[in-house]
Each structure stands twice: as structure tokens, then as C-alpha cells.
């Protein structure tokens, strides 16, 4: 399954407001819970991961991949998407502030690889990423992701 196939509108929030990085992760967690993919415990686990290891999840300028390891709090594999209206600092030396948080839950270490590939392709393109972050609605985010997917397949 590609990324857009794993992101129904219920999984996406655009122009969301988060006061700090914990709230930003909580929003991503809510998106996973809304799809029945995780329990609220997983949201706490995602926050805990950053408390323990630092903001290693901010892996590219402006982008954080919130996640924790497969645990009983994970019921299914999938993603959530939170575009922030105001950038939030996570404490990352090279990649703050964050404008987009993608939440990830995986049942095992391989379940989500095709979607991660999709995500990698999207993140690699600065113009597309900007478009996605500024998208006003979840439907618009899905439309852009679908367009990117289609272009990728036509190219190969």
C-alpha cells in the first residue's frame, strides 16, 4: 500500500495548532487512534521516545516522524498526518522548527515498507513538501499525494 492509500481523510489534519512538541505528537497520536490503529497508550509511548532519546525523530528540516516500537498499544499498521499552522520547536539542532508531523504505527518491522518508500519520495522533493505543508484541507493533501504517486509510477 502506498502512503496515500494509508492516509484516509480521518488520518489527516491540516493547519493544526500545537503549543509545543508534546502537543504536536499528541495530534499525530490522535490521528492513529481515530483510525483504530493504536490505543492512547501509544501516543504516550511516542512522547516517551523523544524524552528518552531526544528529538531524533526530526529527521529532515521541518519534518518529524513520530513513532514508537511495535507494542501491545499497536493494533494495526498505518500513518497519520498533521500539518502545523505554526512551526514548533522539538529541540533538534539541525532540523527545527517542525511544520509537519507524520505519525507511524507498525505491527512489525516490515509491514509498512511500501508506504515508507512513498513517504521518502515525497520528503525528497522540497517543492512538493511545501505544497503539502500549506495544503488547506485533508482532501487537498490526498490529492497532492495521489498526484505524486501517479507521477512516480509513470516514470518507472
Amino acid at each position: 500500500m502506498t502512503l496515500v492509500e494509508r492516509l484516509p481523510e480521518t488520518a489527516i489534519r491540516t493547519r493544526a495548532l500545537a503549543a509545543d512538541w508534546r502537543e504536536a505528537i499528541a495530534l499525530a497520536g490522535n490521528g492513529l487512534v481515530a483510525q483504530g490503529l493504536t490505543t492512547e497508550e501509544y501516543t504516550a509511548e511516542m512522547v516517551s521516545a523523544v524524552e528518552t532519546y531526544g528529538p531524533y525523530i526530526v529527521i529532515a528540516p521541518g519534518f518529524a516522524l513520530a513513532h514508537s516500537r511495535p507494542s501491545p498499544a499497536v493494533l494495526g499498521t498505518g500513518f497519520s498526518w498533521v500539518g502545523l499552522s505554526e512551526p514548533v520547536d522539538f529541540g533538534s539542532e539541525s532540523n527545527d522548527p517542525v511544520r509537519l508531523v507524520v505519525g507511524l504505527a507498525a505491527l512489525d518491522h516490515d509491514a509498512h515498507l511500501a508506504a515508507m518508500s512513498s513517504l521518502a519520495a515525497v520528503l525528497a522533493d522540497d517543492a512538493v513538501l511545501d505544497e503539502l505543508i500549506s495544503a488547506p484541507t485533508p482532501a487537498e493533501v490526498r490529492a497532492i499525494l495521489t498526484r505524486v504517486d501517479r507521477a512516480d509510477h509513470e516514470g518507472s
Binding site: 521516545a49 528518552t52 532519546y53 531526544g54 528529538p55 531524533y56 525523530i57 529527521i59 529532515a60 528540516p61 519534518f63 516522524l65 513513532h67 514508537s68 516500537r69 511495535p70 533538534s92 539542532e93 539541525s94 532540523n95 507511524l104 507498525a106 518491522h109 509498512h112 515498507l113 515508507m116 518508500s117 513517504l119 521518502a120 520528503l123 525528497a124
Partner: protein, 91 residues
Amino acid sequence: MKIVAVCGMGIGTSVLLKMNAEKALRALDVDADVEAADIGTARGAARMADLVLTSAELVEEIGEVPTEVVVINNFTDVNEITEKLTTFLDK
């Protein structure tokens, strides 16, 4: 050559780093095996690898290993990964 891409949990950021490291290696025409590892298995995996790739925040967690540890700041930037791999390979 064996490379280990390390992240905190083994499912997210290390997978992205592994994918992009593989892209960089293809572009450099270098034959290497890239494994994604979480911080728990990183030290063990590092002992059997030639190179460790990870983020700045996790270098301390990985601690002392007999293998070179290279920090990647932007896991989605294949150019950064390619540059750093080239520097390592040139040694």
C-alpha cells in the same frame, strides 16, 4: 561492505535512512548491505559492520563501538548521505 542505519525504534527513521543510503550506494556503484537497527541492537550490529549511520541525538546512546559512526543530519537528503559515504570510502 556492511552498514548499519540506527534509529531509536527500528521501524521508522532507520528504515528511511536505510532506503536513502541504498540509493546513495547505487549512485556510487558500491556494493554494500544496509541493515536497519534500533538502539537496543545497534551496539551488537555495529561490531559486525564497517560503518554506522545515525542521527546526532543517538551517537551518545550508541556509545563506544569499534566501528566508525557517521552522523546524518537530514535522513531524506540523498546528497548528504552520498557525500558522507564518499568521504568514508575515500579513507
